[in-house]
Amino acid sequence: MNADAPGPAAGTGIRTSKADELRVVHQPLARHDQAEKIAGSTRFAGDLAFASMLHARLVRSPVPSARVTRRDASAALAVPGVVCVLFGEDVPHNTVWVDVPGQTVEVAALKASMEVLATGRVRFHGEPVALVVAETEDALAQACELVEIDYEDLPGVYDPAEALADGAPAVHEGGNLLGEWRIDRGDPGAAFAAADVVVAGSYQTQAVDHAYLEPEAGVGWLDDDGVLNLRVATQVVEHYRDVARILGIPEARVRVIAPYVGGGFGGKEDMTVEPYLALAVWRTRRAVRMQWTRQESLLARPKRHRMWLRYRTAARRDGTILGQEIDITADSGAYAYLSALVLLYSSVHACGPYRVGNVTLRARCAYTNNPPTSAFRGFGGMQVVFGYEAQMDLLAGELGIPPADIRKRNALARGDTLPVGQVVETEVLLCQTIDAVLGRAGDKPVPSGPRKATGRGIASNIQSYGRLVWLNDSAAAWAGLQLDGSLTVRCGVPDIGGGQASSLAQIASEVLGVPMDRITVHFGDSALTPLAGTTTATRQLLMSGNAVYEAAVLVRDAIVRAVAAETGQPVAGLRLDADPASGQGVVTGPGVSVSLPEAVVVCRRRNVPIEALGTFFGPKGRPVVRELRADRVFPDFTFGTHLCDLEVDLDTGQVELLRYIAAHDVGRAINPLSVAGQISGGAAQGLGMALLEEIALADGVNLTGGFFQYLIPTATDLPDIETIVLESGEGMGPFGARGIGEPPIGPPAAAVASAIHDALGSRPTVLPITPERVLECVTRGDPPPGPGSA
């Protein structure tokens, strides 16, 4: 068994393992949470009800920029069954300071704030202004219509470049520049002067919505000890701290429980229903449910940042990149949320998975009166793929080098330094992922008719996993054997559908030899499970995975020591492993065979604990300032390449995806089924962004108020997504795993654009790639190749 490897020193340990030594980990096991989900018995956040509970709903601003001149709840309060109507003045502490959610941090708050309920000023369409609480949903609906709020329109600004211009209407006091980052590395001037070729391009990415199937929801109640309980759909149980601050009560008095979440993708990283539920419960002292509608979710919850990317790339004739100039402008919308960090991610990832020695990067994000923007799978690291991969194709075309070759020529390798200054410490299988997708794809498809053109595109990416290293990230988990040899794991990880809890069971099973069906993982409870931090930033396998590994190893070692003392055998001669016959854990050695239940009895007799708390600390580093230069920004990175074959209808601009192949090095697949699910689901979400999805805004008014207008891919929009999993064994997670939650959403838009470029000779540069934009490429491009000429 591989688990004899030493535990990692604070975040830097890389624990490799041979795949063939693994017994439970690395097996494609049906996840334990699936049976209940398929039976229809899983109770999501909106599924729990209390007898005689109240219902709460927000009244939101119908305008994007205005002064609130009058608020009157009297008509609403007159509706039978209405319990209360709350305005900002009713909130004990009506300010939410923008910070990084979850854990103790050393970086200062951005000194940006927003009101829980807006009082004097609204800054975006959909901003919450009043909270109504009623006995029934019907009374609630009626009362919300009757809350009278008068707005006096104020000049707004809806474009980040305009927002940064002199004289623009100020969204907040202190100007519209929310954040900026710079990279100056090497000597870009000399690099461009020495270049054989320079290619330039401008690219634009749109605002998109997470569109998880489960809209924001939750139930809150006060328990017998006066603790405020919130059972909500969230990626962050640590928001109990923010809730306590808003109510002005001790953090220990608030408990957040995350049941199985119906999709997160970053959209449940910031608070959604939490502060409002908490206010309603605190005020009424009764159980309250809040369920946002899909329309509210699309209207007002933070989106992905729109970005305007400008690239210039200098290269030698042989395709070697010499330097890059990058300019990024991002739309932060009306409030700060995590925009500054999203932009930092964009900046660090902006050169892609390539060696670029000379870089000038300028990036800024601006407040506007558009819906706020914040975390979304890929977190700024994904928009830039659309830019840097376009540049690679332009360079390939200019130099007559195949797209695959130019990527391989410049691919990062272990020991290379990223533009920010961080050295890549683990093996990079980027070239292998390129070979893998091309090897799988075979010949390019031929057009199905005379007015059709086919194209093939590839796109590679780099995406960090784990949080920024100055956030002092940590995760804790507890593992304890029961008297019958079954195992309880407690870990504060929210399970948002990626198999987070199930993977922990596999890791514990691997170490302790307890069969999967005898392990229960209690998760996502800020009061009863050790805090494991946010299910964000592709960090949970790295963080809580390592924490559970630590806890399980501590338990294993204690048991082995107890059995050694009991039998007089040296510790080194004993091992805890699964008995091949029974599947149960057993301590064996020369003349020794002690089953786990027997070993538990031995431990109890000898005062040896049969439970342990494991804590994993992420790699550390110093905070960066505006000038990005650091030895380490992220723990590590995941690399991959996607390939897209498609056919374009030259008359309608319609794109049909014929084939989609995605390859990533995941280090080690803890559960190959979950890994494949993350890759195909991430690719699908990226393809939606590529071709279909857009939050449409007209001077700050959100026009996408439902799934009628906001189109996510259906089963008929997508081909089978073929996944290829490479395993370097080099990740920093348990058993050498890398994170794979976010990385697969990066390449699709670029891969589709590349394939259209290949088909039409002209490249779409604005997302989403609608039929209209494809037809522009048809008009602009070289004459498409005839059938068979590809």
């Binding site: 049906a30 949470d33 398929i38 039976a39 699908a684 439902g706 799934f707 008929t716």
Partner: protein, 181 residues
């Protein structure tokens, strides 16, 4: 308020409800049947799909009063009489067709109707049949795999039953010939 009685997953449930109450809200709020999900409220996402007298329907668009007296089957009602997962549900489990699981009840009810109708003859046909059910986690491939597998299993069973029936008929014929000799 009107009294509405539905046979929900084999259980007769009677609840008084306003005439405006949707079937989805009636099930979730009055009958504690929570596996049909609210996902959009406008019949697009399919998470609320239930079978009304065997026909898949978006329960967020139907009023409970419209279907008074009907038989309603949700995903939870697809299980075998002994409570074990149905072959379709087992296929979902084996093919990793649920990730977050929120779309799953609607996917299952839609797929159950497709299997009953035999509208699963190809992957393209399965995809077309699932077109009204959105999933944001899987990319749909594993769900198509599961429905395809369930269809194959059902087809094999059907073929097996036909074969058994043919054998029986042949035996009977032989016996009759024997008797007639």
């Amino acid at each position: 308020m009107a009294t509405i009685t539905l046979a929900v997953n084999g259980r007769s449930v009677t609840r008084a409800a306003g005439a405006h109450l949707t079937l989805l809200r009636w099930l979730r709020e009055l009958a504690d049947v929570t596996d049909p999900k609210y996902g959009c409220g406008e019949g697009i996402c399919g998470a609320c799909t239930v079978l009304v007298d065997g026909v898949p329907a978006a329960s967020c668009l139907i009023l409970a009063a419209q279907v008074d007296g009907a038989t309603v089957t949700t995903a939870a009602g697809l299980a075998e009489p002994d409570g074990s997962l149905s072959p379709l549900q087992r296929a979902f489990h084996e093919h990793h067709a649920a990730q977050c699981g929120f779309c799953t009840p609607g996917m299952l009810t839609t797929a159950a109707a497709m299997l009953a109708d035999g509208r699963c003859r190809s992957r393209a046909e399965i995809r077309a049949g699932l077109h009204g059910n959105l999933c944001r986690c899987t990319g749909y491939g594993p769900i198509v795999d599961a429905v395809e597998a369930a269809q194959q299993e059902a087809g094999q069973q059907e073929a097996g039953q036909q074969e058994a029936a043919q054998q029986e008929a042949a035996q009977q014929e032989a016996a009759e010939q024997e008797a007639g000799r």
